[in-house]
């Protein structure tokens, strides 16, 4: 009986315990943004997007949120200060969107990232991205179709909703892996605001410390094809006579590192593409399909070589050629240094094989 009483008393007082906190007394952080300030004393501006729950879900009406910012010397300090500004317990369990301001990323990413990796309540499946011009501005946007705060960003970045070949996706865990792994460099999608909505069609490439360049939308698409290997994409071929667009359902990319010890190290990339024509300015069925394929192959090759050379010129390697090199056998420290001089002067030998399986219309 006494034991029962004791348990009863424990339950009565449990609402004061640390672990027990009801869901309505938590403030869910749905997005975290980190920007760089001008102030040297307080370099980090942390912005938290706090979701306000509603009982009935309606598009555009229930994506209410509160945006709280704080400048501090470290992210942890900023979060502590923000805690005193809100009435409920902050819960980072659902912080799926992690944005870094463009200025911050151009300077250094390692130091601010550390907090996210150490906190146990921040999930490593969180999605990282660069906010252009600032993370705060992206978090402050609420698109009309959105049902829950930050839902649009989650839908586009996690590929739950739209699947675009322009959107590159990067999770926190993979970003961290690339940041520490020799031979595979990190990247992030770049999000820009536009009229109460977002445009995500660029990718930022980083070396092990900071951002070194932003790809154009066209380059981003090729970049996506290179690193993800299962995107659906389209590309156009322009000939003097006509223009046609091929939609690709599946493709395979293989690469080999050749002639590493010669004067002309080569990275041979073989791409096999199967696709059907989705748009054309002239009837194609009677044309010689082999010729069309050849034309497309040539233009496709150029697209890939352009992006690869750009990445090479920035001395970054998001595709992971360096990692492949390290996997080829025992690689000593000297070998690795040799690769680092090898990669900038490597030649890209891209071989594209396109097969048109359908012209889209019946003769």
């Amino acid at each position: 009986m006494n034991r029962l009483l004791l348990i009863g008393a424990m339950i009565l007082f449990i609402s004061g315990c640390s672990g027990f906190k009801d869901i309505d007394k938590r403030y869910f952080v749905v997005g975290i943004g980190v920007d760089r300030t001008e102030n040297e004393q307080k370099p980090y501006r942390v912005t938290l997007k706090l979701g306000i729950p509603s009982a009935k879900i309606q598009p555009g009406a229930t994506n209410k949120f509160e945006l709280v910012s704080e400048d501090a010397a470290s992210i942890q300090e900023a979060v502590r200060l923000i805690k005193s500004k809100v009435d409920k317990e902050l819960d980072f369990g659902h912080a799926k969107i992690i944005l870094f301001g463009k200025t911050l990323v151009s300077q250094s990413i390692r130091e601010p990232l550390d907090w996210f990796l150490r906190r146990r309540d921040i999930q490593l499946i969180g999605l990282v991205a660069v906010g252009d011009p600032s993370a705060r501005e992206i978090l402050n946007t609420s698109p009309k179709s959105e049902r829950l705060p930050a839902n649009s960003l989650i839908l586009s970045l996690a590929e739950e909703g739209t699947e675009s070949s322009y959107i590159v996706t990067e999770s926190l865990s993979d970003f961290h892996r690339r940041l520490t792994e020799k031979g595979k460099d990190p990247y992030m999608p770049v999000i820009r605001p536009r009229n109460n909505s977002y445009v995500i069609n660029q990718a930022a490439v980083l070396d092990k410390e900071r951002m070194v360049g932003i790809l154009t939308p066209d380059q981003t698409r090729v970049f996506n094809e290179l690193i993800r290997k299962h995107v659906q994409f389209e590309f156009k071929t322009v000939t003097p006579k006509l223009r046609y667009n091929i939609a690709v359902q599946n493709y395979r990319i293989k690469y080999k590192l050749l002639h590493l010890h010669s004067s002309e190290p080569t990275i041979q990339i073989t791409i096999k593409i199967k696709g059907e024509v989705e748009e054309s300015t002239a009837p194609l069925f009677q044309e010689d399909w082999n010729k069309l394929e050849e034309l497309s192959e040539e233009q496709m090759r150029e697209r890939f070589v352009k992006v690869l050379t750009y990445l090479q010129s920035k001395k970054v390697d998001p595709v992971g050629f360096g990692l492949r090199y390290r996997a080829m056998g025992y690689i000593s420290e000297e070998d690795w240094e040799a690769w680092q001089t090898l990669y900038p002067r490597a030649k890209f030998d891209v071989r594209v094989h396109i097969k048109i399986i359908d012209t889209g219309v019946i003769k």
Partner: protein, 448 residues
């Protein structure tokens, strides 16, 4: 009339002085007289007519009549002190000159087998057991026509003197289980035994028990199936239920419909049953863990809408859960006890209150209503009533653990539950044993 005869008469008249249904008949023929005593309420007048009055009229002499009586099953009773007891068990005591005979003339009531009330099946036998022991044995014997079916009779209860039958297939039943059942039946020492549930508790040897270790069933087909699997069946006079033992956990999750349907249908239904069991057991505890400890488990979209629906509820989550569960348990209990005609009213009113008003009043969240009904419905999926009642209780310790320790508590609670079940024995058979080594008695065999 000698001394002995007067003694019988006085003894019986004296014993049943206060019973108005005690009747004495006296007939005198040429040279001899017959006196017989019985309780009118217990004895069948047709039987009396057939076995005493008619022979009496046609008999030429006393010896002739005695012969007829003995042929009809009368027993000579030398001990006068036993006579009152015989009369209360429905015998007629016949006094003929210096001899005393007793003859069973008990009227059997409720010999009709009833409609199935608890274990409904869609396609299958629709009649359950009756309340009469002999009828029940009849039903079972005609469904299990093997001479290996043995029957042993016991009388339980000092006052109720309930006749009990122990049935088993002598080739299939395990002898050590039989011995244990016999010794337990003999050791029962109570005033009244009325129902199989009570008998189960008496045979359990445990003051506190939760999970049933014997199946209580009203279906003859289930009884016969179990007999053919080598199990032991106990029948009680006056009870339309039978006890089947030993029973393992998985027996309680099987319905007779499983035999009537195609393989994939019955397998699918069994899977659904186990999912329902999991829901009925863990959902309230998981809800508390989710709401109060780890809201990051679900997707953000769901979390936000749960948070929204809980916004109006001022009390902590466990209050909400216990409140709703109490109401639903009260509703179930009330609709069980109420007369059939009021029963539907109670459920309608209760359903309305639980479904709408409680949520609008801000006492509970709308998600909680879904959980409550899911738990209640899932609980009724468990086919054997005693197991479903046990599962109704087991979810509360899990809720307590969830309140104190969240997900860890729930998982630990499930661990303890499974550990406890694994530790249990039903007549020396491990409770969580998957196969009792029984033959496939009612499904096509692979080897064939």
């Amino acid at each position: 009339m000698d001394f002995n005869n007067t003694a019988v008469s006085t003894l019986l008249q004296e014993t049943f002085k206060a019973s108005n249904d005690f009747s004495t008949r006296h007939t005198v023929k040429e040279h001899w007289a017959v006196r017989y005593y019985y309780l009118t309420s217990l004895c069948d007048s047709i039987k009396l007519n057939e076995s005493i009055e008619k022979p009496l009229l046609s008999s030429q002499s006393a010896e002739d009549f005695i012969d007829t009586l003995l042929t009809l099953g009368a027993v000579k009773q030398p001990d006068v002190s036993k006579l009152p007891e015989l009369i209360i068990t429905g015998h007629v005591v016949i006094q003929l000159m210096e001899n005393v005979f007793s003859l069973d003339a008990k009227k059997s009531l409720n010999t009709q087998s009833q409609e199935v009330k608890i274990e409904h099946v869609l396609m299958g036998p629709q009649k359950a057991l009756s309340e009469d022991l002999l009828t029940n044995i009849n039903i079972i014997r005609s469904r299990y026509q093997k001479h290996e079916l043995h029957l042993e009779q016991y009388v339980l209860g000092r006052s109720s003197k309930t006749e009990t039958a122990l049935l088993f297939d002598v080739h299939l039943a395990k002898p050590h289980i039989l011995d244990r059942v016999r010794s337990k039946l003999l050791s029962i020492d109570v005033d009244i035994v009325h129902s199989t549930g009570q008998l189960e508790i008496l045979m359990n040897n445990r003051r506190i028990s939760l999970f049933p270790t014997m199946i209580t069933t009203e279906r003859p087909d289930r009884i016969v199936l179990n007999l053919s699997q080598g199990k032991v069946v106990l029948l009680l006079q006056g009870s339309p239920f039978a006890l089947v033992l030993p029973a393992v956990f998985f027996d309680f999750m099987s319905a007779m419909d499983d035999l009537n349907q195609a393989y994939w249908i019955s397998t699918g239904l069994i899977v659904i049953r186990y999912i329902a069991l999991a829901i009925a057991l863990t959902l309230p505890a998981l809800y508390i863990s989710l709401i109060s400890f780890n809201p990051e488990v679900t997707r953000i979209q769901l979390t936000m809408s749960i948070a929204g629906s809980r916004a109006a509820v001022p009390y902590p989550s466990y209050f909400e859960v216990l409140f709703m569960l109490f109401l639903i348990e009260a509703l179930v209990e009330a609709s069980l006890r109420l007369p059939k005609f009021i029963g539907s009213t109670a459920t309608t009113v209760g359903g309305l209150i639980l479904g709408q008003a409680a949520q609008q009043a801000g006492l509970v969240s709308s998600i909680m209503i879904i959980i409550t009904s899911a738990v209640a419905i899932s609980n009724f999926v468990i086919p054997i009533n005693t197991m479903s009642a046990a599962m109704r209780i087991v979810k509360y310790p899990l809720i307590l653990l969830a309140i104190l320790f969240g997900f860890i508590g729930t998982v630990a609670g499930m661990f303890f539950l499974i550990g406890y079940l694994a530790n249990m024995r039903s007549f020396d058979e491990p409770y969580l044993k998957l196969f009792l080594g029984e033959r496939r008695t009612s499904r096509p065999n692979k080897s064939r």
